[in-house]
Symmetry: C2
Subunit: 348 residues, 2 copies
Amino acid sequence: MATIKDVARQASVSVATVSRVFNDTGLVREETSRRVREVAALLRYAPHSGARSLITNRTNTLGVLLPDLYGEFFSELIHGIDLTARKNGYHILVSRSWEGRTEIEEAMRAMRGRVDGLLLMSPDIHRDTLLNLPADLPVVFLCSPSQGHEVDSVTIHNMRGARAMVSHLIAVGHRRIAIIKGSFGNYDAAERLRGYQTALKEAGIEPEPRLERCGDFTEVGGYNAALALLAETNRPTAVFAANDSMAIGALSAFRESGVKVPGDIAVAGFDDIPLARYMDPPLSSVRVPISELGATAVDILLHAITSKNLHTRRHMRVSTEVVIRRSTNGQPAERPPPTTFNRETSSG
Amino acid sequence: MATIKDVARQASVSVATVSRVFNDTGLVREETSRRVREVAALLRYAPHSGARSLITNRTNTLGVLLPDLYGEFFSELIHGIDLTARKNGYHILVSRSWEGRTEIEEAMRAMRGRVDGLLLMSPDIHRDTLLNLPADLPVVFLCSPSQGHEVDSVTIHNMRGARAMVSHLIAVGHRRIAIIKGSFGNYDAAERLRGYQTALKEAGIEPEPRLERCGDFTEVGGYNAALALLAETNRPTAVFAANDSMAIGALSAFRESGVKVPGDIAVAGFDDIPLARYMDPPLSSVRVPISELGATAVDILLHAITSKNLHTRRHMRVSTEVVIRRSTNGQPAERPPPTTFNRETSSG
DNA sequence: CGTCTGTATGTAAACGATTACATTCTTGCC
DNA sequence: GGCAAGAATGTAATCGTTTACATACAGACG
């Protein structure tokens, strides 16, 4: 591979000049610049970013450490992150974080010298808090339990969103409302449960442990939980799933069991993934601006990187929106494409 | 940030020794090694991978350049790539490639010095073929039009899969079969169309241009194309969509129009994304082992990297499987979780 | 005790860029 | 023509590693 020296030699200039041409630092004659570029193109020269980052101490790359890469949620998240990063001239280095705390730390040190900052999503509540971060690597936490105020973070208004959705169910007449919970120990899951419980309490409805079913954020989990609920002697009239995947699994279970949605039972989800509106019946959900979530995190991270000294810690929460579709019975069918409009929209 | 020198000083050894400890090249006394590790931990030392790659000429990172990052397909693809890469001790640097040819080249040079090899998905047929690649960077093409035999590539058995699915439709009695095509100029889309046409020809069915509808691989595209088909005076009895997203859009359109699936019209997709089986009715589709596709590509790339000289170009195709569910009427409902079994499975 | 052998450690030259500083070249003006 | 000023270019130190080679040290052996 051609190096800056090869280009310099061929163009009969010094490496400094070549460098100047490629960073357009000005101060180089038009003709020289042209000659250098020609030679560079000929030699297929591209600056070696490792070498560059060694001296400049910048990589123009952001590390992204996620618990998983699978499914619509992460897909959209990465999309949002990439878009914003690139807009600012940054690349992203994606990695799925391993299980334990030590493994996350391990992954983080592997990023040393590769990235200028880190986006870290580590929703496990029971994980020892506040991993000892390399002092000088800016980190933004995503959807992670609050680590106090010492770190930047972006989270979802989970509690508010869940409460708003359950309140809606109550408003349209439901009293026996079940929840299919998210993964055990997961921060988002815990907050959504809290929102559910809060809404019930506010309406003066007695909580009932048998209506709080375990789930794991997957379709299969939702499917099984739904079957279990059907087996109850005193069935709920509505089910709130802590995410859309589980709600979709539940819809599938109800359909197969001949239980009509929303006639016999109402179903609501959380996230409003693109497919929610294509379900039968279209699924009511709590819209989360996932891509915006990623974008916000990147913005904060970039600020921390570029204004290192005067950056103050930020805690952001992205808002959610309740989107009512037919699965909760409220209104007539929503016609999906080409544009979607939300019947009821309550900030939450 | 602590450097190797700091560690060396604190542990009163030379940098060479520290380096040896961290690369366990042997030849260092047990006690020395322990002392070095202790100091390193204390100082939170992590080797600077830029500096390292500069001298070793290896980054342990693979570049991944995709046309988009959005949706189940890419989600699963990245998942498969990451899994295999990590298993071999590699990171992945993900980027969405820009539009034109020059922009791809631009993105590729940005990867210089950051990656040891490149996975490139560039399904645009009309893009000038065979971008002039930096001679020494191994590249594997994913789902891209054949570039002759000078490059490694992994593609899907699109044509066979599509033909098998359409043949199935014919086998269960359909004669008027429409297709909702994929994006214009897209390689996979073109091949799937070819499979559709081949199956018709094999069955002696006259092709009919009005039944070949344009789509763009999105739900909305499928929805609109489906409505257009309904407007035909002589409606088709089956629709083959070039991917599942469009099939889902079509299902939605039919449902709203009161057209029964599979009673009035059969619907089939391609990809078999996880959601296909949760549709109502569950969607017949051509299963593509997406994650395996990514894994295979990584394997080839790693071989090209590690055995640079004796690596010979490989062209791989991953096989598809026709998965029949209720949307094509063949059989009774398939019960989704916890395990899935495919009624009819024809290699294709 | 000298020598030889092998193990453990140190020294210093790379790797490919950036950039402060030094040097050379133009140009305009007296 | 000489000179100053500014523009263009060159020189060389530097970033944090790895690694070939040199060196030191210990034990074995005659």
